[in-house]
Amino acid sequence: MKELIRVYSLEDPIIWDENKQLLLKAILKAINMPFSMGVKKEFAFQVNPVSGWVNFEWQNQLWTSFQKRVLKTPQEAKKVADTFLRSLIKESAGKEFSSKKIPPILPHSIHTKIVHKSTRLVPHQDRFLIDHWMVSYAVQLKKNSTDTEFIELEGSTITIRIGFNDNIIGFSSQWRPSFLQSEEEELVHHHEEEHSDDETHDHDETQSTSSDQEEHEEQTIIFELAGESEFQNRIVPYYKSAESHHSSYSPASSTAFVISLSENYTLSGEKEISIQINGGSGDFAYSVHAFKPDEVFEEGHFKIADGIYREGDSKIYLPKAIYNLIIWVADVQTGFIRKYEQSIYSFPITDGETPSESIV
């Protein structure tokens, strides 16, 4: 019988950005604070329009110059944080949200779990004071409709900071807007491809095809949440495997794909970067951009190339410099988009050139 795994849909975070006041209202309600335009100053509230990551701070209660009366035990702190999470889920799943089709601020469904990760007592960094409790959680998503297993959503973190008594003075979430609609795809079974040719520079993220059970056992399936300002329209599964301390990722469903680069110098003295995509439908469009960290103030970022992906033939060439290379890839069959970023140190030596000739 085929093993299935879910691919979850994400909504455009702009819906949170455009309804920021409603989100803030829900957060304030969850911490028992009246919502009014007049109290805005002491609250810093932001929604990242790309990722939907939410940041709320009660600014004059964080890093205060006086000793707050903080809760006495980690159990009490966790209880307050748990209560806040429950209230926020309830507030952001209410009528105002549902009538405007706004996804809840935190995942609320039988398809998810929010699991406690740590409770910490945080001193003030400058003063002889205890500042607050910090309680952290992470999100897990259901593997499929029949299995009871929940899988870690790597990159998801929910942090709650508790100041005076049970006051929530900070809330930060690495989660994205979603109604947790999903489709089920066949779980791809992998094992490591054995590459003996070092020149291929095959690295980073690889796909392979065998279902060797022994190899499969060392792999963990994870869902992946992209970074702070990275576009993401699906949550897809990957295998995470490790040899020694090195992890690698490979696609665990037909939608998932991974991007990697190989580098070579050309006779003309440029660095050749070859794009490799493993997984997905095989039908990709790509666009490559870059910035140079040492010149970004003057140059900003710039486009290098775009095209239709062809295995072994999607290449770009970079002259001497240090680049932060950004590769966007869209699977035109599934609509799934993924970004890959890598630093490139390109210092080609052309024929006859010697370093000693490089005089100021």
Binding site: P123, Q174, F347
Partner: protein, 568 residues
């Protein structure tokens, strides 16, 4: 989401979506002496540093008379208004959102229904997808990098006869990235982090009146940039992630702490007071391995597989060499060979309560100016697949130099190709009331008391302390690879020895330093299912315990030395 800037007396606030920091400013918002001095740096309310600053620049001048060196002088140029004219009337530039409308781009994206499945006709429209991808790469909306910059122009010309350069312009830039795992920060690729680039760019101006064939000629050999970092990561009074399981005894202790340190034992009170007062920090220094015996690496743990040397946490204050004129190895005057240190990890820690993974560094600041060859993917199937990423295995050192036998097959450092001949020196020392914002002609002289009389002046810091990182990068114009003798069996018997002469290489004095940046992660420790020689097991990404090799902790304590270089 706009970058916010607030100026009050003597201090301005620089704030992005998750970064927060203050910097010293005059009432009109201009920078004071010291240039951009960052203070109270935080990311997502995780504390990172009390202070980050550049002290100034040491330039080495050498005068030649009739082609012979007749004098060498080091001159210090402090980063202040007496020495430099600040650009833009001292008001720093911000790398902020550009004028094109973020909202417009957002609407463009929405109209393209990126979050919906495309219909069949749309699917095939690669051009429309490329257009979509280009829209995604938009600095207005995708504000993944922010920065602050100031330019400094040397007020006076160099006071040396017939000098090849008349002056120097300095650009100081701090870049701050968003929190993400790409580019990979370490070869496991499993770590999200924000990056901070404390960049300094040097631009020497040519002396138009310079006459290279004159009897007397002054040339510049190097410029050294000295940084002072005062990291201050969170040290928790209680952490359920790393400390003992919550129990009643622990609760009593915590209740005592939050009740004004009452009702707890003397020892517990002393411990809490120490953490509250000092916010103790710990640091580790590492030399990466060049190749890995994977089976034994799996047996003895990843730390011994990938590190040639480790001191984690530092036992005493330390001074070390990170790079010697572009080379990851150097010899002393007795021709004894040493390997340079490759990276520093830094975390908030007290005793053994929180020692973050190494490799890993989940809640830590880490800076790597070089990765060892162990990071590379080889024909060994167990070698790391991430390791050939350019940010680990590439280098600004010319390939011709890397291929030279005298580079010993080592991976090159992450330096800018324009100014690849760099020396890195560092010191981790206790912060005291006597700490001054000065450096010395020879970097090590600032720490002479610790070097010369360690018995009284070298401080133990392994329990966690208020410590500073002094970090110095010198850009040299020249490096000489020593001559050596080799055997060539194709030559006539009895005459197979060949003398390879020394080789002088020249780089540029102009370029940007600290291009590798530093990474700040504040994640939970992670575990993975790992394949080892003994089978598959769940393990942390790296060791979360003290690590001391090749010198054991007892040896380090017994020797009590400030300079702790490791023999090659």
């Amino acid at each position: 989401m706009k970058l916010r800037l607030k100026v009050s007396s003597n201090m301005a606030i620089f704030k992005t979506s998750r970064w927060y920091m203050e910097y010293d400013a005059e009432k009109d918002g201009s920078l004071p002496d010291g240039g951009i001095i960052l203070r109270n740096v935080r990311h997502d309310n995780y504390n990172l540093a009390k202070e980050i600053r550049v002290i100034g620049f040491w330039i080495e001048f050498e005068t030649f008379t009739n082609g012979k060196s007749t004098a060498k002088q080091h001159k210090f140029f402090a980063l202040n208004k007496a020495t430099f004219t600040y650009g833009n009337q001292g008001k720093p530039l911000l790398l902020d959102e550009r004028s094109d409308s973020a909202l417009k781009k957002i609407k463009d994206l929405k109209s393209k229904k990126l979050y919906d499945k495309q219909d069949k006709n749309q699917k095939k429209k690669y051009d429309s997808y490329i257009n979509i991808l280009d829209n995604l790469q938009n600095f207005s909306k995708y504000h993944f990098i922010k920065g602050i910059q100031e330019k400094y122009l040397l007020k006076s010309t160099f006071d040396f006869e017939n000098c090849e350069f008349s002056g120097v312009n300095i650009t100081q830039t701090y870049l701050f990235t968003d929190y993400q795992d790409r580019p990979a920060h370490e070869p496991s690729g499993a770590l999200k982090a924000a990056r901070l680039f404390p960049l300094v760019k040097t631009e020497f101006t040519k002396n138009q009146d310079f006459k290279p064939k004159e009897q007397k000629v002054t040339r510049i050999n190097s410029i050294r940039i000295d940084y002072k970092f005062h990291p201050a990561l969170d040290t928790y009074l209680f952490d359920s992630d790393t400390q003992e399981k919550i129990n009643q005894a622990n609760n009593q202790k915590l209740e005592g702490m939050v009740n004004g340190l009452s009702g707890i034992s003397k020892d517990e009170k002393a411990e809490a007071l120490y953490i509250l007062k000092n916010k103790p920090q710990q640091a580790g220094v590492f030399i990466d391995e060049e190749s890995v015996d994977y089976p034994s690496g799996g047996l003895y743990g990843p730390q011994e597989a990938v590190f040639k040397a480790a001191e984690k946490p530092l036992v005493y204050e330390i001074g070390g060499v990170g790079l010697a004129k572009g080379m990851p190895a150097f010899s002393d005057k007795d021709q004894k060979a040493y390997k340079t240190w490759d990276n520093i990890h830094w975390w908030g820690g007290y005793k053994k309560t929180h020692i973050p993974s190494a490799p890993g560094a989940f809640h830590a600041l880490h800076l790597h100016w070089r990765w060892g060859g162990a990071v590379k993917k080889t024909s060994d199937p167990a070698s790391p697949k991430y390791g050939n990423d350019s940010q680990f295995s590439s280098s600004g050192v010319p390939s011709e130099v890397l291929k030279d036998k005298r580079y010993k097959g080592l991976l090159g450092p992450l330096v800018h190709p324009d100014c690849w001949i760099q020396s890195i020196r560092f010191a981790v020392v206790k912060h005291t009331d006597k700490t001054t914002n000065t450096t010395t002609k020879e970097f090590r002289d600032k720490f002479a008391d610790k070097i010369d009389t360690p018995s009284t002046n070298l401080k133990k810091i392994d329990q966690g302390d208020n410590i500073l990182l002094w970090y110095s990068i010198e850009i040299h114009k020249k490096v000489t690879l020593p001559g050596y003798t080799t055997e060539d069996i194709s030559l006539a018997p009895g005459n197979t020895r060949v003398n390879i002469p020394e080789k002088e290489l020249t780089g540029k004095l102009n370029g940007t330093v600290f291009i590798h940046g530093m990474f700040f992660a504040h994640e939970q420790e992670k575990t993975v299912k790992a394949k080892t020689f003994l089978g598959v097991k769940i393990e942390t990404t790296g060791s979360q315990t003290e690590e001391y090799f090749p010198n054991e902790k007892n040896t380090i304590i017994k020797e009590k030395k400030f300079i702790r270089d490791v023999e090659y």
